[in-house]
């Protein structure tokens, strides 16, 4: 759809299609929707939006901690909703969106249930435990749902659990969870997820082969390794900066090889170019700039411009190679 959109818009801009034919050409190419596409789109929109709104409504309701309502009524309500969601899943076709939506609903409601347990019984549990238990409890549903968005939600829960764990024990084990170590932890976690996801998508799990979710994960992983590299640049040289440099160079190389030659992905390549521009700029800023050097600012500005323009030229040649 998007490919044809680019082609049709190019032809319109080149004057190869007459104005009175634009709307028909766009429709014929599948760029703009017909009535059937609209019907399908609205169906999906209402399903996912309605499900999310209902789940968020329950979470908000328990966050309000309404004292008029007894604890058994509260537990009963959320448990009935979860069981109801799962019963719907069993009745519906698991491969159809409605079936998957019920699992999303149940997944979100488990969080509300766990929060309610903590709120009611004051168990003394830390917040990271809530998210950790939440992620563990819903893992089976995430596995059977075969839905990329639900995997992303699950990964977000795991990230949050790790973050809160580091916040809780940061004071106690300060050495273990300093900011730099936190970035390393999230980098390893999310890069591992990216590698597994890409491998699963390549090995036939077509439902995982949605580029948008892989791009989100790739952006997170790339941003984290860039942060590690910047940390290494701005910190005094030490063992950790060597590891960070090795991780950065390795990540860039692997990303280039994979997203250029195995699964061409212009978004990931453009992200790599931007990361390179930022790292080189930072390196130059550290070594050239000082308070009296106006020329240094000018030089670095020109280098940034030159690098990003060269990156743009290269990316355009890659894109036109893919389109030809």
């Amino acid at each position: 759809m998007h490919q044809h959109r680019t082609e049709i818009l190019d032809w319109i801009a080149q004057g190869r299609l007459r104005p009175e034919n634009w709307a028909t050409a766009l429709r014929l190419a599948g760029t703009t929707p017909d009535t059937r596409d609209w019907r399908k789109f609205l169906d999906q929109l209402m399903l996912w939006l309605g499900t999310t709104f209902c789940a968020v409504a329950v979470i908000f309701f328990f966050a309000y901690n309404w004292t008029e309502m007894g604890r058994f009524a509260k537990f009963g309500l959320v448990e009935i909703l979860i069981v109801g969601g799962l019963a719907m899943y069993c009745r519906l076709d698991a491969e159809r969106p409605a079936g998957k939506a019920t699992l999303l609903l149940a997944t979100l409601l488990v969080g509300a249930l766990l929060a309610l347990v903590g709120q009611t019984y004051q168990t003394g549990a830390d917040t990271y435990e809530l998210f950790g238990v939440w992620a563990s409890a819903v893992l089976v549903w995430v596995l059977i749902a075969r839905l990329g968005a639900l995997w992303l939600l699950w990964l977000a829960l795991v990230n949050l659990a790790v973050y809160l764990y580091s916040q809780t024990f940061g004071g106690l084990w300060g050495m273990l969870f300093r900011t730099e170590e936190q970035i390393w932890t999230f980098f390893i976690l999310n890069t591992g997820a990216l590698v597994i996801w890409e491998a699963a998508a390549r090995s036939g799990a077509t439902w995982l082969n949605e580029r948008w979710s892989l791009r989100i994960l790739g952006t997170v992983s790339g941003a984290l390794v860039t942060m590690l590299m910047l940390w290494a640049l701005f910190d005094a040289p030490n063992d950790r900066s060597t590891y960070a440099t090795a991780a950065y160079v390795g990540w860039m190389l692997m990303a280039y090889l994979y997203y250029r030659h195995v699964v061409p992905d212009l978004f990931m390549l453009a992200g790599g170019v931007l990361s390179g521009v930022i790292v080189i700029t930072s390196f130059l800023a550290i070594h050239i700039l000082d308070r009296r050097s106006a020329g240094g600012f000018l030089l670095i500005g020109l280098v940034v411009i030159g690098l990003s323009a060269a990156g743009g030229v290269w990316l355009k040649s890659v894109a036109s190679g893919e389109r030809a």
Binding site: T35, T51, F60, L298, S308, K316
Partner: protein, 365 residues
């Protein structure tokens, strides 16, 4: 989109168009000069970084520019003229245009800094000048990234201007109208895309920013003006919301017309009803109507960027709704439960009233 449409390559698509009498002549060659949004996004971020260093150069080496309003205005204007010349003379040279972008961004910052030095902060004249300056750049400089960025700045200047006049709450309604006006007519976004597509994206980005601020009431707190009167303080927000509702209604009717569906038909009335319900929800949960409009505009134009931004905005507004101070969590919960229930019920009605010939739902959202 059918699998047949997806599997077509360029040559087959051109042949299809020829068969339907929509195209003539040979297949046009691949136009290598076209950048995808990934490349443009990378270059615009890098352009900002480059501009920061150029500003550093001005601050360090040309301190007199920072000290004098007139010098800042003159240097800023010269920089913008230089950028304009670069974009005109070397529009196909990637290095020159990236240089022009960074120069222009730095020069705009210097020029606006000069205006701020010359005029008292918060005066309407200041924002009128920034608005006129940016709109001029939008019209004159025909670079895609430059147009997006200058449209964002112009839109924000409009917001500041309206607030400085005491006209709170209507900027986002006006920008929503602008957004729909650009994306609902293919003569604009497709026919004159070099001008209107970047303006459409710039308006989209500015609108996201405004809705975000509106959600937190920053517009009222930070930029309260002495010109504000009680009437606007009370009703401005309602007028803005009414504007957004009117735009949503108009958009729905336009989208129906594009599908040859009359507004007074069964489907037309259902769409109008849905828009009105959405507007009621938006009264309690600001931003949701705007995000849904972005999503619909993205779908009707086959524009995945608009759809993606609309979807992310929707999720962000719903999440941030948690922190919205105007209502209690109990009320918010009730609003969301009713909305969610209505949406799911509407889906059931859709299945009964407009059944699909063959139910072939995709396996993903």
């Amino acid at each position: 989109m059918s699998s047949h449409q997806q599997s077509m390559d360029r040559a087959q698509l051109w042949k299809q168009l020829q068969l339907h009498g929509l195209a003539e002549g040979d297949l046009p060659p691949v136009h290598a000069g076209t950048s995808s949004w990934h490349i443009r996004l990378m270059q615009s971020i890098a352009g900002w970084i480059g501009a920061m260093f150029l500003l550093g150069f001005v601050g360090m080496g040309l301190a007199f520019v920072i000290d004098s309003a007139v010098a800042a205005l003159v240097v800023g204007a010269i920089g913008c003229l230089a950028a304009y010349a670069i974009f005109r003379v070397a529009r196909d040279n990637d290095f020159a245009t990236q240089f022009g972008l960074a120069i222009s961004l730095a020069a705009q910052a210097v020029f606006v800094f000069g205006l701020f030095k010359q005029f008292e902060f918060g005066t309407s004249a200041l924002y009128v000048l920034v608005l006129v300056f940016e709109v001029t750049l939008v019209l004159l400089v025909s670079n895609f990234i430059h147009r997006v960025l200058t449209t964002v700045i112009a839109s924000l200047a409009l917001w500041y201007l309206l607030n400085s006049l005491g006209l709170y709450g209507i900027a986002s309604g006006l920008l929503t109208g602008g957004l729909a006006w650009v994306w609902l007519d293919e003569r604009r976004w497709a026919g004159n895309g070099a001008l209107w597509r970047p303006i459409g994206y710039g308006t989209l980005l500015a609108l996201l920013q405004l809705e975000n601020m509106r959600l937190f009431g920053w517009g009222m707190r930070l930029w309260s003006s002495t010109k504000a009167n009680d009437w606007w303080m009370h009703y401005g927000w309602w007028i803005g919301t009414a504007l957004t509702t009117a735009v949503l209604l108009w958009s729905a009717i336009r989208m129906l017309a594009q599908q040859d569906i009359a507004a007074n038909s069964k489907a037309g009335l259902a769409a109008v009803g849905a828009v009105l319900l959405l507007s009621v929800l938006s009264l309690k949960a600001p931003g949701i109507a705007t995000a849904v409009l972005m999503l619909l505009l993205g779908f009707t134009t086959g524009n995945r960027i608009l759809m993606g931004v609309g979807l992310m905005a929707l999720l962000a507004f719903v999440s941030r709704y948690y922190y919205y101070m105007q209502t209690t969590l109990l009320v918010k919960s009730a609003v969301l439960a009713v909305s969610g229930g209505l949406l799911l019920s509407a889906r059931l009605v859709l299945h009964r009233v407009f059944p699909m010939a063959t139910e072939t739902e995709a396996s993903h959202a």
